[in-house]
């Protein structure tokens, strides 16, 4: 039998992960950038900043069965630059990196059905979830 986590443990783990986005006085953010992710999640930003979306504060509701669902994410209604979305970085309001992932079109952790970003345009993200496995 494989190693397993109890539901309560999963919930606590999941809450700890997502609550870390709320560190600082304000709401966490998701920055959409060009190019590949930095080599390590703690490395400095790479690529060009295309736009920044803002989490609600708190960003996520309480986890249930190891899954936390984000509250509404405020779109960026005036993208900063033009380019192809390559990766995203999540930070708290003190600009501490929380996590990152890939962007793609029909692929990636953040899947844009059109990953071309145009300066002055709008960038939106659907409701998202974070899962801690059994």
């Amino acid at each position: 039998m494989a190693y397993r986590l109890a539901t309560d443990t999963r919930n606590k783990s999941c809450d700890a992960i997502v609550d870390d986005i709320d560190a600082g006085a304000g709401a966490g953010t998701i920055a959409i950038r060009t190019g590949a992710q930095p080599t390590n999640v703690g490395d400095a930003d790479t690529g060009t900043l295309l736009g920044t979306l803002t989490f609600s504060d708190p960003a996520f509701g309480a986890a249930s069965t190891g899954v936390a669902t984000a509250s509404a994410i405020t779109s960026d209604t005036s993208a900063d630059a033009s380019g192809t979305a390559g990766h995203f970085r999540i930070k708290d309001s003190d600009a501490n990196i929380h996590s990152d992932g890939t962007c793609g079109q029909g692929s990636g952790d953040l899947d844009f059905d059109n990953n071309v970003i145009v300066a002055g345009g709008t960038i939106a993200i659907s409701s998202l979830t974070v899962t801690v496995p059994i």
């Binding site: 033009s82 192809t84 979305a85 844009f112 709008t122 960038i123 939106a124 993200i125 659907s126 899962t131």
Partner: protein, 173 residues
């Protein structure tokens, strides 16, 4: 062989290519649905990009920028995409019903089949759009910002039209 007979054969070939492309896309969708679920902790999120609207004044300016571009490749592709937009503007808006955009913002309206056929020769394939993205990424974001913005604006329209749908600009949200 008469010219009209040749034209008919070309049209038949293009229609066959279009049907083959659609069949391939459907197969890929079916295969994707068979993929294993994402790794725990890493859930696929869905994003949407909605460009500003495009009008004749902007398109005129984009052609001016294309003419002034140092790179002949950029110049050629930009004019090609401007031609695509102008051709698209000749067609009436789709009368089909819309479905929710995957990002949760706005409605996606598919183009009607006749419209797709009318603009078929002007709309790049997906792999061409990817090549254009790499080309446009060579345009300096600081020294040639206006050209870069124009290029990606046109490319955004190309991606939308390649998906056989009405471009959903941010003023339509």
């Amino acid at each position: 062989m008469s010219t009209s007979s040749s034209d008919d054969k070309v049209k038949e070939l293009r229609e066959l290519q279009r049907k083959q492309r659609k069949a391939l896309e459907q197969t890929n969708r079916e295969l994707a649905s068979l993929q294993p679920p994402p790794k725990p902790g890493m859930k696929t999120w869905v994003g949407g990009s909605f460009a500003p609207p495009l009008d004749t004044d902007k398109l005129t300016r984009y052609r001016e920028l294309a003419d002034a571009a140092v790179s002949s490749q950029v110049r050629e592709v930009l004019h090609k995409l401007c031609d695509m937009v102008e051709k698209f503007w000749e067609t009436p808006s789709s009368s089909l019903s819309g479905v929710a955009h995957p990002s949760g913002r706005g409605l996606v309206v598919k183009l009607e089949d006749d419209e797709i056929k009318r603009i078929w020769d002007y709309v790049p394939y997906d792999k061409e759009n990817k090549m254009y993205a790499e080309l446009f990424d060579t345009i300096d974001a600081k020294t040639d910002k206006e050209l870069r913005d124009a290029a990606f604006h046109l490319l955004w329209f190309a991606v939308e039209l390649e998906k056989d749908r009405e471009p959903l600009t941010n003023d339509m949200l």
